[in-house]
């Protein structure tokens, strides 16, 4: 074997082995793409999971100053209509996850498990619950219905209740 004339060892590709490099390059490109493809394969485009969003009817279905328990059983969500608009509260007690009850006369949510109490706004004021109820994303769908997305939450303690989506103006 003749010794290389110049320091060919330091050159990434040269005249002598360009085809060899192309060959190996294709080969590793194939492996790389196969590996990448296999990884991408693990992330499907669609899921067959229950939808986190639901349509809650037209805004006119709700009277001002009421707490709607229409979706409490099915979705664990209360929809509250006040003078300015709507917000959706997650009906999960922040203490240990029971479903509180809405007491119309006392104007509060009361958890039957350990007695946590929440104002209409969702803020806790009695019992062991450490933080207010969570608000859920509420928007208007294309067809005019109220659209609630349970996967996006707004927490009072993170001062997210003022963010867009936490409240739907009438």
């Amino acid at each position: 074997m003749a010794k290389p004339q110049k320091d060919e060892a330091h050159i990434w590709f040269g005249r002598r082995d360009i085809f060899s490099k192309i060959g190996w390059g294709s080969f590793f490109a194939f492996f790389g793409i196969m590996l990448g493809g296999s990884l991408r394969f693990m992330f499907p485009r669609v899921l067959f999971e229950p939808s986190t969003t639901f349509k809650a009817g037209l805004p006119n279905d709700y009277t001002i100053g009421t707490v709607s328990e229409k979706f409490q059983k099915e979705q664990r969500v209360w929809i509250i209509r006040n003078e300015d608009g709507f917000y959706a509260l997650s009906a999960i007690c922040t203490h240990l996850g029971c479903t509180p009850r809405w007491l119309q006369v006392e104007d509060k949510f009361k958890c039957p498990c350990h007695g946590s109490g929440f104002y209409r706004s969702g803020v806790n004021f009695e019992g062991p619950a450490p933080r207010p109820l969570e608000r859920l994303k509420i928007t208007k769908a294309d067809d005019g219905q109220i659209l609630i997305d349970k996967s996006i939450k707004f927490l009072w303690e993170k001062e997210q209740w003022d963010k867009p989506g936490a409240f739907l103006k009438a």
């Binding site: 390059g25 793409i33 493809g37 485009r45 294309d142």
Partner: protein, 884 residues
């Protein structure tokens, strides 16, 4: 080993091969990535384009809304809002703002402190309780707990005081903000439309690229009765299909669903998906896979299906392209007879019922189908053997529009069948009434034209038969050649009482007197076919062998499928069941020689081409080995197309019945009745719901001389009255020349008629009215006065007594029958606004309704203090009390 000489290593280079193969590998990999990213994901591109198109559309709408809005008023409000907000810039508010800011900081400090103490308190509480639980000494924690609780208690009033202070300071600012808000609200009301569009633009600008799908979890059942989910992704590309914003957009595939019959309102896409109606592969994401698939596939999108008719008519009308979609309607609306938008499919269904396909095939129809032709047991008394043979040889030579198909019989077969039919008379006990003597043909002609024969039959050349459907004057046989066909005694007997010859005949009695009967019979016998020539020479019809051969031919061709023939009562369907015909693949259909390249009648190898040509030329698939006996019906391309469309929906599907049309008893009865009024050709004379029927109306120049329209009849008349009318016809409108025939319906059939009328207005069958009608005398007195003021007797009869009417054609129904005939609510509605119920009626509206004020003007001011509603009820009560 030592024997084998030392070998040098193989130094032959395989570098070239390595380069070639690795190059190929690289190329194919790159190709696969390209295919994965672009070729197979056209929806990415579509959705990006959709976003652009939707935003453009919204922008257009926004501009329109802006130009519509009252800009001067908005500008004024804007100015006011600016003025109000400027107030806040005043120096005193600036210092106030600083103050409030500081106060807020102080409040925040206090609240943070409180929160931390609360957290500490919770922690100590936990350790304290935990210590007790574990049996340790928790007093240290208890002490700390009490301390933190005390701090919190002390902080609370401080926080409250700070809050109050802030609220106090905020008062003047709040005042201004309140004003601004009020103005803003006012502006929002004016800009309502604009804001709504802006919200949509905001939402549309966040549209991402993703697969959109519906999952119908329980749509179909699999082979093992397990529910299979059905996934619909059509909206991934057809993104605007359910989006009202895209209503005006025509660019495909983004357009809004074509919806002239409000289909989407009745068929929720989210519940039914798209492929339920359109077929195709909902899960697929490329156009080809979703729409057409490969040629083995049974369910390509119905819009892609083409038969010879649609191929020939693609240019002239775009509608034919969508005809096959109608076949899906059949899957759920099996018993419906009138569906807007499904006209082609329903034409096919009418043809199936009228042509009598049920004679030979089992069909997936739920209607009760009867034999389509007349009984043949006594045909020897009805006509003569020469005519029978001529008719059998080719029925359409005699009546071009007949529904009797051509069996392409040989002379020998024709003669044998004729011999058998003549011999069949021995088994019949039919005896025609005697007493026919010739009458006046001209009087007979007048009667035929007046009493309504033309509602069902073609007589004369004024109103030609339109098509092969049993509708209007195509319902019964063409009478223009009847003189050549029938014997005088038979015809006289038939007109006198059709049930004597054929118990199940649909021909009604028209209550003709004996002399009228003689006139009509004489007239009809003069109608002869001048071109008639017997085509088969008959000899020795009494030959027993010939008769036996005829019997065998009858069984071979299945004549008993449509005709009652004694001795064939136990024979079954001669041909295959068509209930699952749409599931047949082309491999299961025998195309005979019609796929051969050199065949001038070569057809395409598709399901619909096979069916289409089978219907049109039934014998053309015959080869030397496979014979077929299906007769030809002489159908047009259009009719064959309608039948093919219908049959495309004949598939035994494992579809969950929850998805099918839910039929209330009323609706079911309505459909049953719809079918019945067609089967009895009620539609020949009367007009029914949905503008169906009234086929005879074109015969009358004056609409008042035509038979009445029966829309909303269920609201109008009582069932008992209608039962009585059908059983014992007595004319209600004495001025009409056309006669309501006596159909001789049995109780079941009468109930079916009730079901139609009541079902059409959504009511139950079996109600009674005015059973305990006791109006108070005051009402009656007022009613009588109003009755006279309105001069009701000027047109109406009362218990058979005519009032002051001048012209018989302006006569109106007898009010003496109101109590037994009409429904109470209908009389009120009728008096309120007759034109709303029967547009064009001669009944005047006495109580004008002013739409702008919402008030109804009374007839007089004296009665009931001018209350129109009370006056109407008084008239109603008086009219009802007139009944004897």
């Amino acid at each position: 080993m030592s024997e084998i000489p030392e070998q040098k290593s193989n130094e032959k280079s395989v570098g070239t091969w390595f380069l070639i193969f690795s190059g190929l590998l690289g190329l194919f990999t790159a190709g696969a990535v390209y295919d994965e990213t672009f070729t197979r994901r056209p929806w990415k591109h579509y959705q990006e384009e959709f976003k652009t198109v939707k935003l453009q559309e919204l922008d257009k709408q926004l501009q329109a809304a802006k130009s519509e809005a009252d800009s001067t008023q908005i500008a004024e409000l804007d100015k006011k809002i600016q003025e109000e907000s400027k107030k806040l810039d005043a120096p005193e508010f600036k210092t106030l703002g600083e103050k409030i800011k500081n106060l807020n900081y102080e409040l925040a400090d206090l609240e943070t402190k409180s929160k931390f103490e609360k957290a500490n308190s919770d922690e100590y509480y936990y350790f304290f309780k935990h210590a007790l639980q574990e049996g340790h000494d928790g007093s240290a924690y208890e002490q700390k707990l009490r301390e933190t609780e005390k701090i919190i208690e002390e902080l609370n009033p401080q926080i409250q005081a700070k809050k109050d202070e802030i609220a106090q300071a905020m008062l003047p600012i709040d005042e201004i903000n309140k004003n601004i808000k009020a103005l803003q609200n006012e502006k929002n009301v004016l800009e309502e439309k604009i804001i709504a569009i802006q919200e949509k633009i905001e939402a549309a600008s966040h549209l991402g690229v993703e697969i959109k799908q519906f999952v119908l979890a329980d749509y179909t059942k699999g082979n093992f009765s397990d529910y299979l989910p059905k996934v619909e992704r059509c909206q991934t590309c057809h993104a605007g299909i359910n989006d009202p914003v895209m209503a005006e957009v025509t660019q495909q595939p983004f357009g809004f669903h074509k919806d002239q019959h409000e289909l989407l309102k009745k068929h929720n896409i989210e519940k039914l998906g798209c492929t339920t109606c359109h077929a195709g592969q909902g899960i697929a994401l490329t156009e080809h896979d979703a729409h057409e698939g490969d040629h083995h596939w049974l369910f390509p999108m119905l819009e892609t299906i083409q038969d010879p008719y649609t191929r020939a008519n693609t240019d002239s009308t775009k509608i034919t392209k969508h005809d096959y979609t109608q076949s899906s309607c059949f899957k759920c609306h099996k018993t419906a007879n009138y569906l807007p938008g499904a006209e082609v499919m329903l034409t096919g269904k009418k043809l199936v019922m009228d042509l009598g396909c049920n004679g030979c095939h089992a069909l997936p129809l739920e209607e009760k189908l009867v034999k389509n032709g007349p009984p043949l047991n006594a045909i020897a008394k009805k006509t003569n053997p020469e005519w029978i043979a001529t008719w059998l040889k080719n029925p359409r030579d005699f009546y071009p529009n007949t529904r009797m198909p051509d069996f392409h019989l040989t002379d020998e077969e024709t003669e044998s069948i004729t011999a058998f039919l003549m011999d069949l008379d021995k088994t019949s006990d039919y005896k025609p009434v005697t007493g026919f003597v010739s009458g006046s043909a001209s009087n007979g002609k007048k009667l035929v034209e007046e009493i309504g024969c033309q509602a069902c039959h073609t007589v004369g050349d004024k109103f030609p038969v339109s098509n092969r459907l049993k509708e209007g004057n195509g319902f019964g046989p063409d009478l223009n050649k009847v003189g050549t066909k029938v014997n005088a005694t038979w015809l006289y007997d038939w007109l006198k009482n059709p049930k004597n010859y054929h118990v199940e005949s649909r021909m009604p009695s028209l209550r003709l007197s004996d002399s009228e009967l003689q006139d009509v019979t004489t007239y009809l016998l003069t109608l002869k076919d001048t071109n008639y020539k017997p085509t088969v020479t008959l000899s020795s019809l009494e030959d027993a062998a010939k008769i036996e051969a005829g019997r065998k031919n009858i069984l071979k061709y299945g004549c008993y499928g449509c005709h009652n023939i004694n001795g064939t009562e136990n024979e079954g369907n001669i041909s295959v069941s068509l209930a699952d015909i749409a599931r047949k693949t082309t491999e299961e259909l025998d195309f005979g020689d019609r796929l051969q390249v050199e065949n001038p009648n070569k057809i395409e190898k598709t399901w619909q081409d096979w069916i289409f040509h089978k219907i049109k030329e039934p014998r053309d698939y015959t080869t030397e080995r496979i014979k077929s006996v299906m007769p030809s019906f002489g159908l047009s391309d259009e009719e064959a197309h309608a039948l093919t469309v219908l049959m495309k929906g004949w598939i035994l599907d494992f579809q969950n019945q929850e998805y099918a049309e839910h039929l209330t008893p009323e609706k079911k009865g309505f459909y049953e009745g719809q079918n019945f009024i067609r089967q009895r050709n009620c539609v020949g004379c009367h007009l029914f719901e949905g503008e169906v029927g009234g086929l005879i109306y074109s015969h009358y120049e004056n609409p008042d001389e035509a038979p009445p329209k029966l829309m909303g009849q269920g609201d109008k008349t009582q069932e008992d009255w209608l039962t009585n009318l059908l059983n014992n016809v007595s004319p209600i409108r004495p001025w009409l020349k056309i006669r309501m025939p006596s159909f001789g319906f049995n109780n079941e059939q009468v109930t079916t008629v009730h079901k139609y009328f009541q079902g059409a207005v959504g009511k139950e069958v079996g109600q009674t009215y005015f059973a305990d009608f006791k109006p108070n005398p005051e009402n009656l007195k007022a009613g009588e006065e109003l009755f006279n003021i309105a001069q009701c007797t000027k047109c109406h009869l009362v218990n058979g007594v005519a009032g002051k009417s001048l012209d018989p054609s302006s006569l109106a129904p007898d009010l003496g029958k109101a109590k037994t005939r009409l429904k109470p609510d209908w009389i009120v509605d009728w008096l309120k606004d007759p034109q709303a119920i029967t547009p064009g009626t001669k009944m005047p509206g006495f109580f004008y309704y002013d739409e702008s004020t919402g008030e109804r003007y009374p007839l007089t001011q004296e009665h009931f203090e001018g209350n129109a509603d009370k006056q109407i009820i008084a008239i109603r009560d008086y009219v009802v009390s007139l009944s004897k």
